[in-house]
Every structure is written in C-alpha cells, then in structure tokens.
C-alpha cells in the first residue's frame, strides 16, 4: 500500500478544514457513563411529557427555566445537577433518581434477556441500495 510523503501531507494540510471532530469524539468517550444517565433521564422525561400531553414549553414554565434549556436537557448530553433533577421530579411527578440509579444497566440486561427470547432478524435482501 502506498504511503504518502511528508510533502504531500503539508500540501493537504493547507486546504483542509479542522473542526475538532476528534476532540468531540474523545469527550463523548470520556463522559460515556454519565451521558448514559443523562440520556436515560431525557427519555423518561420525554415519555412522561407525552403521557401527560405536556409541551416542552409548559415544562419550562413549570420549572421556571427557558425552553432552550429544556430542549438541551432532552438531548441527553446535559450534566444535570441534583437541583434540576429534583425540579423535574416535582414538575412531572417522577422518581428519576431512584429509577436512574438502578437503571440503565438493568435496562440493558433486560433488553438482552428479551433479545434471547425473540431474536430480531436482519433486514431481508441484505444491504442492496
């Protein structure tokens, strides 16, 4: 396989863009564990909003925060404080902490178990476009 020379690299380096992809990916890797908890809370809140037919804006009003913050929170990448979690619990009548502390891993185990019972199939026809 052909290996590029240093000269070739330097030419390309002048014109390529650098948006810091690697740093962001590294950040996701390093924070994977709490991000999962944040994601779990986001999903639980979204399900509750749907159940109670509440909008994100209404939740923001109840929490006395901006709709932008609620929107950010629902992406599952906010490092939530205990204060915010408590407000969410209060506003939506949820027990997030107790559920989230047993939580995601247990959910995974359950999913794996379910999978053994009902093996999902690969889409037919493989990957033809």
């Amino acid at each position: 396989m052909r290996v590029s020379t240093d000269k070739e690299f330097s030419i390309l380096e002048k014109h390529e863009v650098k948006t810091g992809w690697k740093e962001k990916a590294q950040w996701r890797r390093e924070n994977r564990r709490w991000l999962r908890y944040s994601g779990f809370i986001a999903l639980t809140v979204m399900n509750r909003l749907e159940e109670k037919k509440l909008s994100q804006k209404e939740l923001a009003e109840r929490m006395k925060c901006s709709p932008q913050y609620v929107s950010k929170l629902l992406k599952g990448s906010e490092n939530l404080t205990l204060d915010t979690i408590s407000k969410l619990e209060e506003c939506l009548d949820l027990d997030l902490l107790r559920t989230a502390l047993s939580p995601v891993d247990e959910y995974r185990a359950q999913s794996n178990h379910l999978h053994v019972i009902a093996q999902p199939e690969q889409p037919p026809g493989s990957d033809e476009h």
Binding site: M1, V17, K24, Q26, G39, K75, S77
Partner: protein, 182 residues
C-alpha cells in the same frame, strides 16, 4: 464542499458540506447521541423497526443506537495507522465484482446484540483511502425505500460528481488538486 482529515495519515477523510460547520462524521455521531432526535426518528420509523428487527420498544432502539454509535466511533478513533480500511468499508452494491472509479462504499456498525442498523457511507479514492460522505440509520432492505437513506445516496453521488468535476479520480488526483490551488 471541504474535506477534513479523520486519520492523521490522510487515509480517511470526511466531507464538510457548505451548509454545515462541522464535518459529516461529527454531525452523524452527534445525531446518534441525541436522545430527542433518536426518539423522534424511531417513533417515525417504528413500523420498520418492528418489521425488520422485531423491536417495538422505542427506548430500547434509542439505547441500542447510542451504544452501537459509541462503539463505532471508538473503532474509528482507535484505528491503527496501518489498519486496512478495505476491511471496514464494503461496496455499496453487493453485486459489484469489479473495481470502479470513485466507488460508493458503506461501513456497518458492529453491534453484537442484533444486526446493526448504523451505516457510514464513503467514496473510495483508491485501496485503503476513503472520504466519508454521510451516515444513516438503515432499517429497510434497500436505501431507496426511505427518504433519509435515499438522501444518503444523493450525497454519495453529489460528492462523487464534485470530485470528478475537479478532475479527481483517485487519491493522486486529490493531492494534485490541492497542489494546483496551493
């Protein structure tokens, strides 16, 4: 359209489209880690999920996607400089037997609990050298069946056409182009 180096040795690149401020790889992995976006996506495609994967629990589909995406992203980050990228990418058309210029390729996620629905799409400049053009959650048998996967086909063709319009047909051409605007 610009390009960002994914591997330091210049063997893997990602497109940055004019309307974006990050490269497409970052855009795709951000979506695949966005619980709100994923929940909305699987709610919309719940029938495909049930038909092809026998999964009806949207929360589960979201968690599976995040797990699979994290593993795929780590795999790309940890690629050894000497890794054979031809092992990661495969021709888009399963029936393709011969080499084509700037071939359209795909890489699949490696999820081990069920078949992965994650796909990265790329243009092959030459053996072991690729430009990632996009990515999608592919739940159906063919890309033409759904708008979002059809959009990925369009992007593949758009990047391929762009490279050809610049006279780039392989990695040498890619380097020559940059040299000419230097």
């Amino acid at each position: 359209m610009k390009f960002e180096r994914v591997l330091e040795n210049g063997r893997l690149w990602a497109v940055m489209y004019d309307e974006d401020c990050v490269n497409i790889l970052e855009k795709v992995f951000t979506q695949w880690n966005d619980y709100e976006w994923l929940r909305e996506f699987f709610t919309k495609h719940v029938d495909d999920l049930a038909t092809y994967f026998h999964i009806t629990d949207i929360d589960r589909a979201v968690f599976d996607t995040v797990d699979d995406a994290n593993d795929l992203e780590c795999l790309i980050m940890d690629l050894n400089p000497d890794a054979d990228l031809d092992e990661l990418f495969r021709p888009l058309e399963n029936t393709r037997m011969s080499e084509v210029i700037l071939g359209r390729e795909k890489a699949k996620g490696r999820y081990n609990i069920h078949a992965s629905w994650l796909r990265l799409y790329a243009i092959r400049m030459e053996s072991g050298r690729y430009i990632i053009t996009g990515g999608a959650i592919k739940l159906t048998a063919t890309m033409q069946e759904r708008e979002h996967t059809l959009g990925e086909l369009t992007k593949l063709n758009k990047v391929r056409d762009y490279l050809i319009s610049l006279g780039i047909f392989d990695y040498n051409g890619f380097e020559d182009y940059y040299e000419s605007i230097d």
